[in-house]
Amino acid sequence: MNAKRSDKIATGVLYAMSGIIVLILALLLFYILANGLPHISWHFLTAPAQSFEKGGGIGVQLFNSFYLLILSMVISTPISIWAGIYLSEYAKPNRLTNIIRTSIEILSSLPSVVVGLFGFLVFAVQAGFGFSILSGALALTVFNLPLLTRNVEDSLRSVAFTQREAGLALGLSRWETVIHVILPEALPGIITGMILSAGRVFGEAAALIYTAGQSAPTLDFTNWNPFYIASPLNPMRPAETLAVHIWKINSEGIIPDAAAVSAGASAVLIIAVLLFNILARLIGNKVYKRLTGV
């Protein structure tokens, strides 16, 4: 076989294999949306879930997912920004920094089920939070921190060094330079990373089944006092999220319309993740344009 011919064949094979990947995604999206979209209605999105009967919704689970997302972002954002600042501005290339970087790497590659079990042991059992939103949010924070920190560090590093020199030359301290000069400039990258990780957190289930729990008690949406037990804002109540709900109805299979509910819920999850992706892209592009003045 001559070289030209094998070149052509190889190219054809590569085209075909790449095409298969695109087909797989198309099939996945088509399957989920075609099965799920017909089930999505206002009733489905707002009604509470049923345990034994047909016609349940995902209202409480949807609310729980968002509440948990917001709570864990509130906890993990400042920590990751501080940690990122340390890594990009203060860390010297020595052994300690090496240890820190290795731990972050290990944490980011831990299976999420291990993070969930750790959260169960520490937050739910030892700290006594039980199956609660708080335990779940803390477990998600552990799961989220390494990636967010790395994202903050990378964004800070991509800011030109001259900016730091300018800040220092104006008599600002290093910290003030970071907070007032570097951080604002790195913000677009940081925000894009945050939104992407929000999408990841939104679909996470393995870290939550033993921390936020697998039950969704009925909520009283008229009472927003966080200390009231059925209040939507109460952080100490168990809270099954949308992703956990899909897992649970599929592995227990008590409700008769499990397939329909999980198809609808999967579609909602996918759409949410898509929105997070698009949002991250839009904001990234917009800020990039503003920065480069195009």
Partner: protein, 308 residues
């Protein structure tokens, strides 16, 4: 007197340096917290996981070689039945098989995106891969359960649950990770390698196959191991399609189990501190150690690759 005031104001810490100190402490505390969490995870999981062997007198040999998993019961000599071989075999089987299936596709897509058509690759494949990463694992599990399992049942027999279903789900799940890391590996091959090869009269495929791919081997291996580490640790999607029977898999379509699937199923049904609970923590410890091993492997390879 006036001199003293000036002296004092000069010697006093300025507001800026105070803030600097606070900021530095704050950022160091945050990074310290992360390190503490990592150490705590290891300590907590290890103490629970080791208790099976120290407190409950389980045998480490049984754990890795026996295939009877019933930690609540004991055998004749009073050791708990903690044969984890079925789960270990299951985990390794789905991990290796999914990596074997995913690697050619990932490399093909990476070559397409870097060597053949970067513009179309960026426009079509890049978003496709980002979307595949974004799909939550329970959704993969649900699609596996309602699409892949019936398909296997109808075409290959059995119940449809098993290693094959797990492999197919994991293949799609790790594909984007392996692809995007392979793309990075191919991109980092210097341009002049390609130019030199093309100038010798090699075709594009010859250049890709004989020059670029070989130069990118360490990077691609890192990508594959990274994908395997994700496959090994994936819990819910696999749990939904593998059948969850703690038996040694007879073939690719008989119900099997993985470390993660038994872990997620069992943890809710056992009491803290009991033998069966401790045995589950031993599985978690094994999972943790494997993730550490994958990490070390990646480090080794990238260090070796850097020498070239």
């Amino acid at each position: 007197m006036a001199e003293d005031k000036i002296r004092a104001s000069l010697l006093k810490e300025s507001k800026a340096s105070k803030r600097e100190k606070h900021g530095k402490i704050l950022s160091f505390a945050a990074i310290g917290l992360i390190v503490i969490v990592v150490v705590a995870i290891f300590i907590f999981v290890a103490t629970r996981g080791i208790a099976t062997f120290t407190v409950d007198k389980g045998s480490l040999w049984d754990f890795f070689t026996k295939s009877q998993w019933n930690p609540g019961a004991t055998d004749k000599s009073g050791h708990p039945l903690i044969g984890a071989l079925p789960m270990i075999v299951g985990s390794f089987a789905v991990t290796l098989l999914s990596a074997v299936v995913a690697t050619p596709f990932a490399i093909a897509a990476a070559i397409y995106m870097v060597e053949i058509s970067p513009r179309r690759g960026y426009k079509i494949l890049q978003p496709v891969i980002e979307l595949l990463v974004g799909i939550p694992s329970v959704v993969y599990g649900f699609v596996g359960l309602s699409l892949v399992v019936p398909f296997i049942r109808n075409h290959f027999g059995g119940t449809g649950f098993g290693i094959l279903a797990g492999t197919m789900v994991l293949f799609v799940m790790i594909l984007p990770t392996v692809t995007s890391m392979s793309v990075d590996a191919l991109r980092s091959v210097p341009r002049y390698y390609r130019e030199a090869s093309l100038a010798l009269g090699a075709t594009r495929w010859q250049t890709t196959y004989k020059v670029v791919l070989r130069a990118a081997v360490p990077g691609i291996m890192t990508a594959v191991i990274f994908g395997m580490s994700r496959a090994f640790g994936e819990a819910l999607a696999v749990q939904m399609v593998i059948g969850n029977a703690a038996l040694l898999p007879q073939n690719l379509v008989s119900p099997a189990s993985t470390l993660t699937s038994i872990l997620t199923m069992g943890m809710g049904n056992s009491v803290m501190g009991s033998v069966s609970n401790n045995a589950l923590w031993s599985l978690a410890l094994l999972l943790l150690l494997m993730s550490l091993l994958f990490n070390i492997l990646i480090h080794r390879i990238s260090k070796k690759g850097a020498l070239h």
